[in-house]
């Protein structure tokens, strides 16, 4: 927390060995084609991009998505999606480390194919193991404050609590819990999943999130490139508002019976 009212001129986000000046992280999935994906990511000015790992299809050549991303100076964050338990996630993380030559990993374990909600128990298990192995672990989890404390203690570099189920675009449904997580965390809190509109992203940033991760909302927009740029603006606006110190809402109407009148009567009696 700031200890003065000055707005930090150098608002950098440091996670493990990397420094970010953009707090909008993006995903590469669900775009209709690679060209659009690359243009949209460029418009986002994102410096961290997630991707998945899949078994190669022997019959035809998959696009090489890495080259254009690396060319644009984006850091790569492989995820373990597809893993349904800690063992599979650990295997995926190790594969990802070889494939991308990075020890950064987004831990994503969703055994439930309907809502894609993250498994807290398997995630914590995998995080403990991978952190010990020297990975930079960014776990995707439900907005559970106690779970986030355990993940921090396990050595994760950040936590990524969800705003709403993946792809739902419902926004920040978990606001109350995100606030608690942000208050209690000593590591960056990146709100991931469920962000459907730039206003959702701004809200997460106003709450004090270190960054947000947006994928679906950009990829399936009518104009992904324009939407991506809008998200970039929203994240900057939300962050600036947070740093400037928000006004807060007034909830309390003054009741009529005074609790402190006794002090006025007491003015003369000062115990020394």
């Amino acid at each position: 927390m700031l200890i003065s009212n000055e707005i930090a001129s150098n608002d950098q986000l440091i996670i493990a060995d990397k420094i970010f000046t953009s707090r909008l992280f993006t995903g590469t999935g669900k775009f209709n084609d690679q060209r659009t994906m690359v243009k949209a990511l460029q418009a986002s000015k994102s410096q961290l991009v997630t991707m998945a790992l899949k078994r190669v299809d022997m019959r035809h050549k998959d696009d090489d998505i890495l080259a254009p991303l690396i060319k644009n100076g984006m850091n790569l964050l492989p995820n373990t999606s597809g893993a349904r338990n800690a063992k599979e996630a650990i295997f995926a993380a190790q594969l990802a480390r070889e494939a991308l030559q990075t020890n950064w990993i987004k831990l994503e374990i969703h055994p439930d194919p309907k809502y894609l909600l993250p498994d807290p128990i398997e995630t914590l298990k995998a995080a403990e193991f991978l952190a010990k192995e020297g990975f930079v672990v960014l776990p995707y989890v439900h907005a559970d404050p106690v779970l986030c404390r355990h993940l921090e203690a396990a050595g994760c570099a950040a936590v990524m609590p969800l705003g709403a189920p993946i792809g739902s675009n419902k926004g920040i449904c978990t606001a109350d819990f995100l606030e608690i997580i942000i208050e209690q965390a000593n590591i960056p809190v990146i709100v991931d999943a469920g962000i459907g509109a730039p206003s959702h992203a701004a809200r997460a940033m106003e709450m004090g999130a270190a960054a947000v991760l947006v994928n679906t909302a950009i990829a399936v927009a009518g104009d992904p490139v324009a939407m991506s740029a809008a998200f970039a603006l929203a994240v900057r606006a939300g962050r600036q508002a947070y740093l400037a110190g928000l006004a807060g809402q007034s909830h309390y109407a003054l009741a009529s019976s005074p609790l402190t009148a006794f002090l006025d009567a007491e003015q003369m009696q000062e115990h020394g």
Binding site: N186, I187, P258, L263, Q269
Partner: protein
């Protein structure tokens, strides 16, 4: 980034005394109003609430403080009683009746006396006890506590101690012997002023004392208390440091509970001139500020304050009270000859009287906090 080796003496370097003091006094009405309208306050908001600019907003602060306290604690007040085990002390502290250079009768309760005191206290209804000693490592140290604690534990379900700061290993031992909570007051967070008042003995080590709560947290102490002795230094600045300390500890030792006390300097044998006088209105402001900043922290009021004041501040944020206190060794089993009290008691009402008052104000007295029965101790 969470750093295992970091302690508060490192963290405190982020807060320079004079910068803090100036920024508190620079707060204005707008800052106060913003703090009042937020649901989650930060340290800057706390500064606004303890600044002079908050004085006109006292009623509003009190309303909100009362509301928050009710929501979190319900209509309850926890009762506890201090039992002074010893007034031996090897420190010289200018403000304290137990100071080594004061010619007072020194006594340490033996095991039989402790048993008698416990029996007398149980008759009054208490189940939460605060054991207090001076700071005399050799004569009243861990070995003494290891003897005394089993006796006391057999009578009380919750034991707090307020003794000399100990090492982490010693705290781990005391946890095994039944200590649930440890209170250590920094007295003042200003190291220069601290040195002026702590002239001799282990207490002169500012940093060791300052890092006590880190050692407690690492030892896994369930509950810890902090605070400053209001009046040694400019009170707003000193109390800010208490809030900053609490803030740091809660983030780091998140499985511990916290309690704050606000002892105001009172006359003692030494007749110390108080540097910064805090009047009653300001104490109310402080209590409300702590509550608004931290709806979950226990706020504890001792018998240092007068009857009239205690009655009126009770519903404004307080959650824990002592009653019927004796601040000399023993004092409950029999009408002991005065060995000299650590501080003068202003509210001398009995526990039964206090319980009646608390009930009359619409609160239930909690003699035993059931949270602890699950730990199996």
């Amino acid at each position: 980034m969470g750093n295992e080796k970091m302690t508060f003496s490192e963290e405190i370097k982020n807060y320079q005394w004079d910068d803090v003091r100036l920024s508190i006094y620079a707060k204005n009405g707008t800052d106060v109003q913003r703090a009042l309208s937020k649901s989650r306050l930060d340290l800057e908001d706390f500064k606004a609430l303890i600044s002079p600019a908050a004085a006109p907003f006292l009623e509003q602060m009190a309303q909100k403080s009362q509301q928050l306290t009710l929501q979190r604690f319900g209509k309850t007040q926890q009762f506890y009683i201090p039992l002074y085990l010893s007034n031996m002390c090897s420190n010289i502290c200018t403000y304290c009746g137990f100071s080594m250079h004061n010619a007072i009768r020194r006594t340490t309760l033996d095991m039989e006396q402790i048993e008698n005191e416990c029996l007398a206290i149980k008759k009054m209804g208490f189940d939460h006890i605060l054991l207090v000693t001076g700071e005399s490592e050799r004569k009243v140290g861990v070995e003494y506590f290891k003897q005394a604690l089993p006796i006391i534990k057999s009578h009380f379900s919750h034991i707090s101690i307020e003794v000399q700061p100990l090492d982490q290993l010693e705290y781990e031992i005391l946890i095994d012997y039944g200590v649930d909570s440890v209170l250590v007051y920094q007295e003042t967070y200003n190291p220069v002023t601290y040195a002026l008042h702590h002239l001799k003995g282990k207490k002169a080590d500012f940093t060791y004392r300052l890092n006590t709560h880190d050692r407690l947290g690492k030892a896994g102490m369930h509950k810890m208390g902090l605070g400053c002795l209001i009046g040694l230094e400019e009170w707003r600045t000193d109390c800010f440091y208490v809030a900053a300390h609490l803030n740091y500890l809660q983030k780091k030792y998140w499985q511990s509970r916290y309690t704050i006390s606000f002892p105001r300097l009172r006359p003692c044998a030494g007749g110390l001139e108080i540097k910064s006088v805090m009047d009653d209105k300001q104490l109310v402001q402080l209590v409300c500020a702590y509550r608004l900043f931290n709806p979950e922290v226990e706020l504890s009021l001792s018998t240092r304050e007068s009857e009239h004041f205690r009655d009126n501040i009770l519903p404004l944020g307080i959650t824990s009270l002592s009653a019927g206190s004796s601040t000399q060794p023993g004092g409950y089993a029999q009408e002991a000859e005065k060995a000299l009290e650590q501080f003068e008691i202003s509210d001398t009402r009995s526990p039964a009287e206090m319980a009646q008052l608390v009930k009359a104000q619409g609160y239930e007295v909690v003699w035993k906090d059931w949270d602890h029965s699950l730990t199996g101790k």
